[in-house]
Amino acid sequence: MLGIALPSSAYSQKVAPEVVTPFELSRRLHFRLLGRIPERAEVEQFIADADWNGLVDRLLAHQDNLRVREEFWIDLLTLEGPEDLKWIEEQVKANTPIDERLHSWFARQRPASKTDEEAFLYLEETGNNLFGVGYDCTRCHDHPFENVRQKQFLELAGFFQKNGFVHAPNLYYYDDATPGEVIPARTPFGPELRIRVSKRDIEAVRAGKEVKRKIPPAEEFAGWLTNFRENPQILHAITVKYVDWLWGPHHLSDIRLPGADPMLPPPPEIAEAVRILKGSSYNEETLLRELSTHSIATEKYPPLQISKRQWLRSIEAALSKPVEDLESSPGPDKSFIEQSRFMDQILVDHSFADHADIDDVFLRTLSRFPSEEESAKILEALQDSELPVSEIYRNIFLSHEFKSIP
């Protein structure tokens, strides 16, 4: 772990390797771990403490971090219903190991799909997250570049179906099955796992009955999925998702399915993250801590566009008040006119100081001090236009600097 303490007077000093200022680092870590910009007090605390490790510990213990972690898993596993949300809330709170969490979801929590269509849809939505690229394409055809065929998609979907098999759809173009044919569940790589389907099973399903199995297909599948030692693909794919979450899609370099030609070694940051996970017995919090205090955190990246959720939570942090009606608000990529109407709504009720303290506004919104030139220019324009202080917030909330992650 690379813990770098900052000298307390180093406002403008760079964090090694001399590309990120403490202000930028604070903003980045808050965005990544809390899903929003730091509040003014949080920036000031970091600058005063000059303790990178301490900041990461504080952020990981923050309630908002639990919420962001839950959201990560909601996207990863396509969680929807209130029971699923309650389940993931408990899992994150207890910091259950990743393999245990995955096993619990597939073996116990997730209800088996009632129809083939449901199983296809679930695999289409989550396949890329769990196995790497390729599974959304293969619902309809063999993958043009990856080593995965449409039939393998159907076989894998069988594990999500309560009976352990699906039927080939009408849009099936290959000569290894015909539309309507029964396709039993089978894993596409790693240790082979297949569900045996007898004629009696098929007849039972046709008669509207359920096939009874000693071990449900979902439970067998969960065991295969979390056997990271023999089946490293899953761990690799999920690690990529974590690194992507923390440091952006610049790290989503090639993840290839087993058997791809050529098989590229994983990029160093992914290999390092996998090593951390294995060493910590798949502990999520340890991974987040290590990645956040790793040298990767101080690399210079092109700014990332923030999501709607991050934009709105950042506005809340800047104004220190909840913004109502978050769901119906426009996102940061919507048109100027839509965003402008939204600004008019949220700023009208907020009370601002009569005189503009530009330092305060910049620390609250951009997590940095303004330059002398910026201060002078803004104060002069504000005086000339005779607009209220709220208009400074309006301009900043709509600016590219506010809407991007450094």
Binding site: D333, K334, S335, F336, I337, E338, S340, R341, D344, L366, E374, K377, I378, E380, A381, L382, D384, S385, E386, L387, E391, I392, N395, I396, L398, S399, H400, E401, F402
Partner: protein, 398 residues
């Protein structure tokens, strides 16, 4: 000299100059109103119907041997002012957004560069003209590698949305003044898909902005003719922006043709009714104001539909769609391109690049002028446009 007659004499003079200077393969347009049918408008229920295929029936038109869908009765009456293109290549992907990208930019998506759409190209080549507008459309293409600040659209989500924010011009003037102090925070990305917030602020602060956006000041009869729906009102707003704001390009969207999860034909019938109201009223209104020859009106869609009806709906067809052009110096009352019983072009097809080249030619912009991206790669409006006489067919003298 009677001063009241001066504007009309001037207008005649300009029209005469334009006519004389017009070559056979260019138009007379000063602006484009692009009615963008989003989600795949069915050619069978619009401008390329086949007898007995589908529930829409046929509408006779004043043009010899031209019939259009029975769900477009008002448009049928004005087809003698229009040119129908029945073989525009379309549908490069089952994902409509990807096909929209190809149709509007002329290029397929690349990870390394974002291409400008046709509105941004037009604005790039018309630097002294007013802004370009995107109304009631969720399309994500924009200025691409061209500077967003000067070539990006001003996006108007709905005609109602501008009514609520454009009332106080003095406030926008002040905001425009203040915005310059923050311009360094808003350096537009080279790959920005968004609209230009500085251009929008400037527009809202201007007299023409205020006048153009206030579509409710139109006579009740005019508003009624455009129809009581967002698309109709957007067409009316487009005409006002063309008339008052010197807009060089206005895109108006009509979304929902994909009809996912709804009764496909009932949905198509309703959308056709909106298109019928908006398009016919727009053409009549432009004609009444002597603006049709200087305004190219287009109906276009990104993807076609299959001739077969499966599960009570038509699927996307990765082959051809149809388009309609009117005004702007194009030939009237003709059909270019033919399709067979399965909706495929039987002769030459018009590529998205060639379609954009026609728009450029209508505006007398060279579609083959090379513009370099910041990474020094060459791009043109008319990518892979093999004219083979198409410009003569579209603009040539009858």
């Amino acid at each position: 000299m009677n001063l009241r007659a001066f504007p009309s004499l001037l207008h005649c003079g300009i029209a005469l100059f334009v006519t004389l200077s017009q070559a056979d393969d260019t138009g007379t347009a000063r602006r484009v109103i692009y009615l963008n049918m989003l989600g795949g408008m069915s050619q069978w229920e619009s401008f390329d119907p086949k007898p007995g295929n589908g529930p829409a029936g046929l509408t006779e038109t004043p043009v010899d041997r031209l019939q259009i869908s029975g769900w477009l009765p008002k448009s049928g009456k004005i087809m003698d002012r229009c040119l129908v293109l029945r073989s525009v290549r379309s549908g490069f992907d089952h994902v409509p957004e990807n096909s929209q990208y190809v149709r509007l930019t002329g290029y397929t998506r690349r990870a390394t560069v974002t291409h400008p759409d046709i509105g941004s190209w037009v604005k790039y080549h018309s630097p002294n003209r007013g802004p370009w507008f995107r109304i009631h459309s969720d399309v994500k293409t924009g200025s691409g590698f061209l500077p967003a600040e000067t070539c990006g659209p001003i996006v108007i989500p709905t005609p109602q949305s501008v009514q609520s924010i454009s009332g106080d011009r003095s406030l926008w003037e002040k905001r425009n003044e203040l915005a310059s102090a923050f311009s360094h925070l808003s350096v537009a990305s080279l790959h920005s898909d968004g609209d230009s917030s500085r251009a929008a602020t400037r527009f809202l602060a201007s007299e023409v902005g205020l006048t153009s956006l206030d579509w409710k000041e139109e006579a009740a009869g005019v508003q009624q003719a455009y129809g009581d729906h967002n698309f109709g009102k957007s067409c009316l707003l487009a005409r006002r922006l063309a008339e008052n704001a010197d807009a060089c390009f206005i895109e108006v969207g009509l979304d929902g043709w994909e009809a996912e999860g709804v009764d496909y034909f009932e949905n198509t019938r309703k959308l056709c009714a909106q298109l019928d109201d908006g398009f016919s009223a727009l053409i009549a209104d432009l004609e009444k104001r002597n603006m049709l020859e200087e305004t190219l009106v287009i109906i276009s869609t990104e993807i076609g539909r299959t001739e077969a009806i499966t599960d009570k709906r038509r699927k996307f067809q990765l082959s051809h769609s149809c388009a309609v052009l009117a005004g702007g110096g194009i030939r009237k009352g003709i059909v270019i391109g033919e399709t067979g019983p399965r909706g495929r072009a039987t002769g030459k097809a018009i590529s998205p690049g060639a379609f954009n080249a026609i728009i450029a030619k209508a505006l007398r912009i060279d579609p083959f002028e090379t513009v370099y991206s910041p990474s020094r790669r060459p791009f043109v409006i008319g990518k892979d446009a093999k004219p083979e006489g198409i410009f003569q067919e579209v603009f040539g003298k009858d």
